[in-house]
């Protein structure tokens, strides 16, 4: 029997193939007789297409077809995870830089590329809306045709939707001091190292689509709708993504490719360049105005938060990002009066989608910076002001939601201690600390199957996507713990809708908790059946049998699982199949459709050194202290925290899309869009786990994959402020911004 598998840092399951170079990613899939596709898009954002001339393209040797809007049925099929607003190809008007107007299919990638460059598009460039102020201007041109907007109150505006949340009475409460500021957060991109690749293969009665999608069953649903096929005839094969971070959560070009492949009757492959990938997935920019009231002892009296998120030309999942993040915008604090207004604003920019933190980093940047501003004004320590306002375990902090589900003050204390809070600092250095909170999953549905084979080995089937977070590892540990199967004898099957049972999605750091609970139930189902088998086989009443991991205890002695299976099934053979599921139902009355299953809460602390001559910031220490419930694999938790924190370092210091006035992205690709390298990250990068086994997942676990990114920016912003004496409220904190701030008189708070 295996003991202590849970809580041990076993190596990543699937790691071996990755270090050997044998791991199969979607770009490595080759299909017999396949054609290669290339997109045709314009070097501008908003344009009216007058005509598309494919004659020269079709002359290129090896070209088989070019598909443009003229070849599509009207209305052009549209899709999306929440709003069906995105056309599979632009219908006469492009709305963002990179939106395809045509697609070429050829016998080779090179021929497709040459042909795509020869498709002549006659178009007129139009003015673009690419800033919050423009999108809010009631006289601005509408990004989306009201005809596709449904019946909402905002259909004749650029507001996709608007949300109001809150409690108490912000208008009539009394605070000793009020601080008001506006904070901005730029457009940044997930930049998974694996660019998007898709393959579509027509089959005798349907289609198979290959995509490194985080939600295979979501893609299946959308393709079935676009292609008018039953779910059973749409097979999604989703190899483990080479990084996703939310960017691969929802379908992008799969509907177009599948549609084209069916027309061609041949398998079709589309590999995007990294630059094109940047045009398919990015985080919403945000402007967050916060008015905060405090008593002179630092007690929070109110938070009045108005968040305007600049989403793209189509909704993707942005509405959910905005509503879910803004709902908890006041953070992990006891705030008696809260008013939140949030808007998702359409613009002529690529559709914004899920990105680790799901809108929360934008809110946390603003609200945590306000706590620093209050500490400064009230001459309080920045740790003290947070400690004063944090709820204790079990304390209600949002009136209609679950209470604080962990020891959040412990996160704060541990992070402060680790960064050396209060110790003397040399000139030019500073420290910062911030809390981050994100609501975990609200609705959920995960189904799983575990097969216990005759030799005692086991196969687990799960619709979760292992995109690097290590779901295969954690799931293997759970099966090993529950069934007493050695880790080397467990296989985990994922990523094929014809094989794995339904899973709602891999998102919101849910899989350890939700799929994990389903796996526990499936293992329980196996144990129950093992008791029944032993009862039949050995003629003992079931109620006298006790099943432990790997072992059946009978009054007259113990039998291993293998003995029971072989004794019962004999030469005819067989196996035991356990099924399990975990669901969190939709709650109509709850603003989010259900209370969060857990809160993801962290404290992040940073120490920085700023070069006053150049404005450059070096991060010396970055500490993440997360309330994780239980670390089923401590190393995997640290891997998530460290990676998330450095991703946060990216949007804190260097990452941003640079748009021109017409909405063209001027820094597409790795050369011009910088992400952290080995030389940008701190020598001291640490993850501290607060473990009180108080989560809803297996063994008391909570989700952990996003915490490290939630409050990196305010922690670094606070550290930079301590180093240079100036608070900068616009991200990223580039050398130019810091140098400029240093060379002009500081503004009063």
């Amino acid at each position: 029997m295996k003991q202590g598998i849970v809580g041990s840092s076993i190596n990543r399951v699937g790691g071996l193939a990755r270090v050997l170079g044998t791991q199969m990613y979607v770009a490595d899939v080759k299909l017999p007789n396949m054609l290669h596709a290339k997109l045709v898009h314009l070097d501008c954002a908003h344009a009216r297409v007058r005509s598309i001339d494919c004659r020269e393209a079709l002359k290129v040797e090896g070209v088989r077809a070019v598909l443009s809007a003229a070849d599509l049925p009207r209305p052009i099929p549209r899709f999306g995870p929440t709003y069906q607003d995105r056309p599979i190809l632009a219908e006469e008007t492009t709305l963002f830089h990179g939106e395809p107007v045509a697609i070429v299919a050829a016998e080779s990638e090179h021929a497709a590329e040459v042909a795509a460059s020869r498709v002549k598009v006659d178009y007129q460039e139009l003015p673009a809306i690419c800033m919050v102020t423009q999108a809010l201007d009631p006289s601005a041109e509408l990004v989306q045709d009201p005809a596709i907007r449904g019946q909402g109150p905002f259909k004749n505006t650029n507001i996709l939707d608007e949300w109001s949340f809150g409690w108490g009475d912000v208008e009539n409460c009394r605070a000793d001091t009020v601080i008001e500021n506006t904070y901005t957060f730029p457009i940044v991109t997930q930049f998974a190292i694996e660019p998007f690749t898709f393959l579509a293969e027509p089959t005798a009665d349907g289609i198979t689509v290959y995509s490194a999608i985080q939600i295979p069953y979501g893609l299946q649903r959308i393709l079935a709708a676009v292609l008018n096929l039953p779910l059973s005839r749409v097979r999604i094969i989703a190899p483990d993504p080479g990084g996703a971070f939310g960017g691969k959560q929802h379908p992008k070009l799969e509907p177009l490719l599948a549609y084209f492949a069916l027309r061609l009757g041949r398998p079709l492959r589309l590999e995007l360049t990294l630059a094109e990938s940047f045009q398919q997935a990015r985080r919403a920019a945000a402007e967050v105005r916060v008015r905060s009231g405090f008593n002179s002892d630092g007690t929070l009296v109110f938070q009045d938060i108005e968040s305007n998120y600049l989403i793209g030309a189509y909704a993707d999942i942005a509405a959910r990002v905005v509503s879910k993040a803004s709902y908890v915008a006041a953070g992990p604090y006891r705030v008696p009066n809260v008013r939140i207004l949030a808007r998702a604003l359409l613009s002529h920019t690529p559709p914004s989608t899920a990105f680790r933190g799901f809108g929360a980093p934008q809110e946390n940047w603003a609200v945590e910076s306000q706590l620093d501003a209050a500490a400064k004004k009230l001459r309080l320590d920045r740790v003290d002001i947070r400690r004063k306002n944090l709820p204790g375990p079990g304390e209600v902090f949002m009136p209609h939601d679950p209470p604080a589900d962990g020891d959040w003050a412990e996160c704060l204390e541990k992070a402060a201690e680790a960064v050396g809070w209060g110790q003397p600092l040399p000139e030019g250095r500073g420290r910062g600390i911030a809390m981050g909170l994100k609501a975990g999953p609200t609705t959920a549905a995960s189904y799983t199957i575990v097969r216990l084979h005759l030799d005692g080995s086991a196969t687990l089937y799960s619709g979760t996507s292992d995109m690097g977070q290590g779901a295969r590892t954690v799931f293997s540990q759970i099966v090993a713990e529950e069934l007493g199967v050695a880790l080397e004898q467990i296989a985990v099957v994922m990523g094929d809708t014809s094989v794995v049972p339904f899973d709602l999605q891999t998102s919101a750091s849910r899989s350890t908790v939700v799929m994990g609970n389903a796996i526990i139930k499936a293992c329980g189902d196996i144990k129950r059946q093992m008791a029944e088998l032993a009862a039949e086989c050995y003629g003992v009443a079931v109620d006298r049998i006790r099943v432990a991991p790997g072992m059946v205890h009978l009054p007259e002695g113990d039998h291993s699982f293998v003995e029971v299976l072989q004794d019962r099934f004999g030469r005819v053979k067989g196996e035991v199949i356990g099924v399990g599921s975990a669901r969190n139902e939709y709650v109509k009355e709850h603003p989010l459709g259900g209370p969060p299953a857990f809160y993801e809460v962290v404290a992040i602390a940073a120490e920085v050194e700023v070069d006053r001559e150049t404005g450059e910031t070096e991060i010396l220490k970055l500490i993440v202290a997360g309330d994780v419930g239980r670390a089923i694999n401590p190393q995997a938790v640290s891997m998530q925290d460290e990676g998330a924190a450095v991703q946060g370092l990216g949007h804190s210091l260097m990452e941003q899309y640079i748009l021109d006035a017409a909405g063209r992205i001027r820094n597409l690709g790795a050369l011009d869009y910088r992400i952290p390298t080995t030389k940008d990250v701190p020598r001291e990068l640490r993850s501290i786990h607060i473990e009180n086994a108080d989560g809803p997942g297996p063994y008391g676990a909570k989700g952990v994959a996003e915490g490290g990114i939630l409050a990196t920016a305010p922690a670094i912003g606070g550290a930079v402020e301590e180093a240079i004496g100036v608070r900068i409220r616009d991200l990223p904190l580039t050398p130019e911004r810091i140098w400029t701030a240093l060379n002009r008189p500081p503004l009063p708070d």
Binding site: N11, R12, S638, A670
Partner: protein
């Protein structure tokens, strides 16, 4: 699309290969497309991310910006050539043990860059490791555990007795 292809001779992972390539074809395209060595990954396609790093004639190169024709007569080592009989070498094992592998897409290039670093500098300082890997982007790990892995590999090479230590 050219009228003529070029015949090159290249030794890949100690195996001599005769390959017909297009004049504009990159080494990366040749490795992945013609030799089915898909362990080498394509990301940026412009020599900035290091995902396609291989060793060519003893130098670490971004195979996305080397023409296949330039590799004529060269010796190339890819990730597939590091392991012996499917078993990871000490560097690959160190990546596993240190938790330096998450999604794994940057991993082959990262390991090849680290391999090159250790060939030329078997006992690098932390600073030298950070410098040596600065051309390889990773979006999952935050790099800390990658640096630890390279340190561990360098140490295990220095102490043969502890080589089998996990």
């Amino acid at each position: 699309m050219s009228d003529r292809t070029i015949r090159i001779s290249v030794t890949v992972n100690q195996q001599r290969r005769e390959v017909e390539v297009e004049p504009c074809e990159t080494l990366l395209e040749m490795l992945r497309g013609r030799l089915d060595l898909t362990g080498t990954k394509k990301c940026c396609g412009e020599g900035e991310c290091g995902a396609c790093t291989v060793i060519m004639d003893g130098r670490a190169v971004n195979s996305c910006i080397v023409l296949a024709a330039e590799a004529d007569g060269s010796e190339v080592l890819t990730i597939e050539g590091l392991a012996a009989e499917g078993r990871p070498n000490s560097l690959q094992q160190a990546f596993l043990d240190s938790g330096a592998v998450q999604c794994g897409f940057c991993t082959p290039g990262m390991i090849m860059a680290a391999h090159y670093l250790l060939l030329n500098n078997p006992h690098p300082t932390e600073e030298e490791i950070r410098e040596g890997l600065s051309g390889n982007l990773c979006r999952c790990t935050g790099y800390g555990k990658i640096v630890e892995a390279v340190q561990a590999a360098a140490e295990s090479a220095a102490e043969p007795a502890s080589k089998n230590r996990r």
